[in-house]
Assembly symmetry: C2
Homo-oligomer: 296 residues x 2
Amino acid sequence: MPTTALALLNQPSSDAPPHTEELPPFALVDPADPHVRVLDLGVTRGDGVFETISVGSGHPQALEAHLRRFARSAAALELPAPDEQAWNAAVRAAAAAIDPVPEAYVKTILTRGVEGDGRPTGWAYAAPAEDFTAARRDGIRVVLLDRGYRHDVAQTSPWLLQGAKSLSYAVNRAVVREAKRRGADDVVFVSSDGYLLEGSTSNLLLRVGDTLITPGTNLGILPGTTQGDLFAFAAERGLGTDYALLHADDLMAADAAWLVSSVRHAAPIREVDGTPRAIDADFTSALNAFLVARTE
Amino acid sequence: MPTTALALLNQPSSDAPPHTEELPPFALVDPADPHVRVLDLGVTRGDGVFETISVGSGHPQALEAHLRRFARSAAALELPAPDEQAWNAAVRAAAAAIDPVPEAYVKTILTRGVEGDGRPTGWAYAAPAEDFTAARRDGIRVVLLDRGYRHDVAQTSPWLLQGAKSLSYAVNRAVVREAKRRGADDVVFVSSDGYLLEGSTSNLLLRVGDTLITPGTNLGILPGTTQGDLFAFAAERGLGTDYALLHADDLMAADAAWLVSSVRHAAPIREVDGTPRAIDADFTSALNAFLVARTE
């Protein structure tokens, strides 16, 4: 079996015509070959959406939540709605087509396609996950960086697409370069009016006493699939969960803090803008053991 | 000759290795074939930069200014510097490879390439221009839309990449959809603190008495190549030119107003948020005659 796999969707949305009448819903093709046209709006304008789904021992994790968010992102960009059944099948097929590994991921991408063509482009790409053992165990250093937007911008200015997981992620990459320049590993975005938002591709999670807290999804941030599963995990263990408006002080004062995401899972924050903060190794291990073991 | 042409660069930057040792600096290939890999960061993260260069009767216009801006955008994203000579040749070759038409364009794209590969991806795509006669003659309707950022965000938060022409343009497309929903054609972005910025892919130009005025390039907006040429044109005619901080009132009070850009050139603004404003047909014709006739 190959190390990576690529499923190209023939009809990523049932609202748009298929690419060919003959093909099955998707085809497994060689990821090393080019499959995207230079006129695809996904590459010319970052005009598309994506999800990254962790795969634990062959099981796509939180797949339904990911596909729901994929559809919400597509709606925010007014893309044709992804066909949930086709995507579900393509993700599972891509995940099943690679060499079995304990941790892998599938990335789904839906673009508006070639301008004027009316047919979106879609694929699911599967590969082994990077080894995040050190980040999960030893923690990560973050810097707080201004996102430039007020905390309420998703309500006042929806055309800014905040809260949609779009392909226009150049800023999300630039902030990680800025973090590295400052001797850190990742970033926590802060609204222009001082509220903590999210990581570059992750959600912020705090533990304060017996409660897990994350910034509210009305702040123009992504509703986290991993954060959602961890809230369910916490509730099962009798912990409280809350969505809140948080400031930098809350991050420093919390009993523990993480950036949580698919694939890297729960990375404890051990430093904020150069100031060390405690990590809770046992609780972090419990979170990651739960996340890695999920079978759906 | 074909209607469209595509030049793929073998070594888009002399700071990075070529794609193959054998090929010439670029190769003309079929634009209908796929040439981009699904792992290219240009499509997975909108992680790249672009330029759109108008071609008048076969002559790429303001090419040096476009390639300088291309290099500045690449620097803002910390991409390998585009090789000016290779891009210049590729743009000219693509422009020369299509059926002669009075107005065409070449789009250049430089992406970070496939993650971990270390070789950026680059191409120049040439095609006939859309017919913008009506927009140039009858004018366009604009709406003012919040960009969400303060006017000084490029200085305070450079990681937001304001002023770089990146591939992460999903918002620039979303605002045009919002404009259409409001019965308009295009948008003028406004900073969160009330300053006029630029169009979705154009610069704002006002005429107040004998002076052409455009928002300052320190506002996190793109320095316009067309606006630059029009300032030179104005100076030759004895008109003044100025970069200024402008408010919505200035747009309504100006003697004339345009969105100016490569390809569409000078589109007079005839309506702002549903309120008509006068256009200067003669002066607009003079601007566009100058822009269309440029031979470099």
